[in-house]
Symmetry: C2
Subunit: 444 residues, 2 copies
C-alpha cells in the first residue's frame, strides 16, 4: 500500500523508473521454475513489480486517456478482487448484478433516453464498439445470427477518419471487412463532415451494398473533437442507419477513462425496450441459465453478454458514485476542462510552444519548437525539423519526471497530446509540463 498507493501518487516521486526490456528482464528474474519461492523473495518481487511499473495514478502521468487514482474505486476493486465474482447469474453475483443494473439505469437517464434502454458492461471501449456493430447489423437483418454474413448483401458501415482504431478492429473481427468501413473525411478540427457522410451512404447504395450503421465519436482519441451528432442523426433517419455513440441508438461510455473508475469499466448501452441485447447475443446455456430457478430469472443478465465469465466492473464505479455523488463527478469533469483551457492559454503565451488547435475537450495538442528552429520560416523545411517529440519523450522517460504521448497526425509533424483527467492535477503541474519539455528539448 505504501509503495503502490501513497508513493505512486506522490508528485515528489518519479512517474516511472525506466529500464530497457533487457535490463528489466534481468531485474525481475521472470523465469517460472519447478519449485516455489519463499515469502521474503515473493515480497521482494512485489516491491520490484511496483518499483518498475509506470505510476498511472501519478499527477504527472498524462500519457493515456486515463489517469489518476480514485480511493473509492480502488477500495471497490479490492473488495471485488477478494470476492472474485463472475457476473453470470443473480445467484452467484447478486450484489454485483444489482449494482450494474443501478449504474446502467443512471447512465441511461443521463444520456437522456426517457423511454429507457438496456446495457451491459464489457471489457473495454473496443469491445463495446464491437457490440454496436453486432447489434446494428442484427437490428437490420436478424438472420445474420443464424445464417452468417455469407447469406447477406455486402454490409457497409461509416466512421470518420478521426475515429478510434477499434472500429477497424471490429469490422475485421466481425467479418464485415475493413474495406467495408467507409471513412468520412473530417474538417480541420477533427469533426466528421455531414455532407461527405451522406455522399458515402449514397455511394454504398449505388454499389448495391447495404449501409447499416455509422459510428460517431464524441471526443476523438487524438484531437478530442466531437462529431456533429445532430446532423449525423438526421442523415441516419433519412437513410435508416443505426447510429452508435450518440443519443440515437447506442452508446459506448467508458468510465475507466474520464471518470477514473479504474481499468476496466465500460458500458455499452442501447436505446431499446425489446430485449435486443438478449436476442442478439444469447446462447441459452442450460447449465447456467436454468429456467426452473426459484427466483425471477430476468435478473440473470449474463446471456446478454458475448462473454461467459465476466468481471464486476460496475461495482467500483457505483461505490465511487455513491461516495462523491453526481455532483462530484461533474466537478471533476469541469475541473479537467478548466485545466485544459488553462494549459492552452499558457501555451499561447509562451515562446516555443504552438497549439495544433484550440482544445474542445481535455486533449491539448501542441508542438514544442526548440530555440534553434524559432527563426526558421514556416514551410516544409521547418516542419521536417519539428520532429523533436521522440527525443524529448526518451529523455523524459529516462528521467521519469512525467509522461505525455505524442504522434504525427495526417500531414502534421509529431506533436504532444496532453490529456488532463485526474483531479489531483494542478496548475503547477501544467506549468511544470511546459517547463520540463523546454528544459528537455532546448538543445535540439
Amino acid at each position: 500500500m505504501e509503495e503502490a498507493v501513497w508513493k505512486a501518487t506522490d508528485v515528489k516521486e518519479k512517474v516511472c523508473e525506466w529500464r530497457s526490456p533487457e535490463q528489466l528482464k534481468d531485474l525481475l528474474d521472470l523465469e517460472l521454475r519447478e519449485g516455489g519461492e519463499a515469502h521474503p523473495q515473493i515480497l521482494q518481487r512485489c516491491r520490484d513489480a511496483i518499483r518498475y511499473s509506470v505510476k498511472t495514478g501519478h499527477p504527472r502521468f498524462f500519457n493515456q486517456l486515463y489517469a489518476g487514482m480514485d480511493p473509492y474505486s480502488l477500495v471497490g476493486r479490492f473488495i471485488t478482487e477478494a470476492i472474485n465474482p463472475s457476473l453470470y447469474t443473480y445467484e452467484v453475483a447478486p450484489v454485483f448484478l444489482l449494482t450494474e443494473e443501478a449504474v446502467l439505469q443512471k447512465m441511461i437517464e443521463i444520456i437522456g433516453w426517457q423511454e429507457g434502454g438496456d446495457g451491459i458492461f464489457s471489457p473495454g471501449g473496443s469491445v463495446s464498439n464491437m457490440y454496436a456493430v453486432n447489434v446494428a447489423r442484427y437490428h437490420h437483418c436478424p438472420d445474420v445470427k443464424v445464417l452468417g454474413l455469407s447469406a447477406l448483401p455486402r454490409l457497409v458501415m461509416f466512421t470518420s477518419q478521426e475515429c478510434h482504431y477499434s472500429v477497424a478492429k471490429a469490422a475485421a473481427f466481425l467479418g464485415i471487412g475493413t474495406n467495408n468501413v467507409y471513412v468520412i473525411p473530417s474538417d480541420k478540427r477533427g469533426k466528421m463532415i455531414p455532407a461527405e457522410f451522406e455522399k458515402q451512404v449514397q455511394r454504398a447504395k449505388d454499389e448495391g451494398a447495404l449501409p447499416f450503421m455509422v459510428n460517431a465519436t464524441a471526443g476523438t482519441t487524438v484531437l478530442g473533437a466531437f462529431d456533429p451528432l445532430e446532423e449525423i442523426a438526421d442523415i441516419c433517419e433519412r437513410h435508416n442507419l443505426w447510429m452508435h455513440v450518440d443519443v440515437t441508438n447506442s452508446v459506448a461510455w467508458n468510465p475507466h477513462k474520464m471518470l477514473m473508475a479504474g481499468l476496466q469499466c465500460c458500458a455499452f448501452m442501447v436505446r431499446d425496450k425489446t430485449n435486443l441485447l438478449q436476442r442478439c447475443h444469447s446462447a441459452q446455456a442450460s447449465y447456467l441459465f436454468q429456467q426452473d430457478k426459484f427466483y425471477d430469472v430476468s435478473y440473470d443478465t449474463g446471456d446478454k453478454s458475448i462473454q461467459c465469465s465476466r468481471k464486476p466492473d460496475a461495482f467500483k464505479f457505483w461505490l465511487m458514485w455513491k461516495a462523491i455523488g453526481t455532483k462530484g463527478l461533474e466537478e471533476r469533469v469541469e475541473r479537467a476542462l478548466a485545466m485544459a483551457r488553462y494549459l492552452a492559454e499558457e501555451i499561447k503565451k509562451r515562446d516555443g510552444f504552438r497549439l495544433v488547435m484550440e482544445p474542445e475537450y481535455t486533449n491539448v495538442c501542441f508542438w514544442y519548437i526548440p530555440p534553434s528552429l524559432r527563426d526558421m520560416a514556416d514551410g516544409p523545411e521547418f516542419w521536417r525539423n519539428v520532429h523533436v517529440a521522440p527525443v524529448v519523450k526518451e529523455r523524459m522517460m529516462k528521467k521519469g519526471s512525467m509522461m505525455v504521448g505524442y504522434q504525427p497526425h495526417g500531414d502534421k509533424a509529431n506533436f504532444f497530446r496532453q490529456i488532463i483527467i485526474s483531479p489531483q492535477v494542478s496548475r503547477e503541474d501544467m506549468d511544470f509540463l511546459l517547463d520540463q519539455i523546454h528544459s528537455l528539448g532546448m538543445d535540439l
Copy 2:
C-alpha cells in the same frame, strides 16, 4: 480484509447470505444521487456488499468452474489494481508486458510446441474462442480482414454437441452464423465421435461450403469429457482444417478456472512463428504504436489484441506461479482430481445417490434420489420424478450452507454437477456435500 478474505474463506461461515432481488435492492439502497455520502456510510456499503455477496473462495462453493482463493494471486491483483496499468505498450506497462510474455512462453512450453508459438491474454475463454475462429479463418483466407465474409464462400466450422456455448456466441458475433457451426454428436461419455466429424466435413464440402476449423474440447463444461484429440487432429490434417484447443494449431487456456488465478485470466495461444496474431488483429494506430520510439517496439504487443485498454491479467498468475512453482500447481490439480475420485466412490457407496458417469476430470455429475422414489422402477415415470435438484438448490441457497450447480442434459433429468478446484477443499467437505443434499431433499 477481515470480512472479504478471512471470513469469506472460513468453512464455519455461510457461502451466501441469500436475499431475493427485491429484498437486496432495499438493503443496498442502490440509487445514485446528486450528493455524495460520508465515509461511515460508504464503509457500511462496503460491508453490505461483502455480506450479501456469494463467497466464491469458500470451501463449499462448488457452483462454477472456478473456486477457492489463492493468496499470492490475490496480492498480485491488489498490486495491479493499485497500479492500474493498461497493456498497450512497453512504455506504459513494462513489468506487466514482460510478465505476460514470460507466462505465455512457459505455457507454450508446457503445451509442448517445441518450435515455439505466440499468444495473448484475453478477458475470458469465450473471447479466446473468438480469437480462435478469427485466426483460423484469417489463416485460410487472409482477405477476410479487408474484404469481409461477403466476398468469401460460406465458411463452416465444427464442434461437438458438448462444447461450451461460447462457440455459438463466437459464430454469431464474428458473422459466421450459428447455422454454419456443424454440431458433431458425442458418445455417451461426452466425447466427440471422430467418424461423425469426418462425415460432416464431407457434407460441408459436398454443399460447396468451405470447412475451416474444428473446436475440440479438453474438459467439457458439464461432463468434464475430453474429445479424442489425436483422432481429430488426423482428420484435420486430411482435410486441411485449423484445430483449436488441442496441441495442433491453437489453444484457449483459462488459469482463472482450474488454476485459481482469479477472474479474469485467460490465454489464447497459437502455434505460429509468422506473427499471425499481429497480422490478423493489428490496426497500427499511430498515436499508440509509434514506430519511432527509442526502444525495441516489438515489445509493444498491444496490437495483437482485439482490445485497446487491457488489464494485466497475467501478472497475478506469474506471481502465484513464482510462489508455488510448477510443482505446486501440479499438486493442486492432482489433489482436485483425487478429491473428485473420492467423491465418486462415496456416491457409489451411498443409498440414494447415482453417478451420471465415471468422472474423467473434476466434474462429478450425479443424481440424488429421495427415499420416496427409491423403490420405483427405473423408467420414464421414475425420471420424471427425479427433478428434485431445483428444490434442493433453493433450500441450500436460503440456508447458505453450500453452492453446487445442476442442469438437465440431453434426455437426462436435472442432476448436480460438482466441481472440485480449491485445494482448501477436504474429504470432510465431500462428505458434507452428500449429507447436506440428503438432509435437504429427503422429504421430497
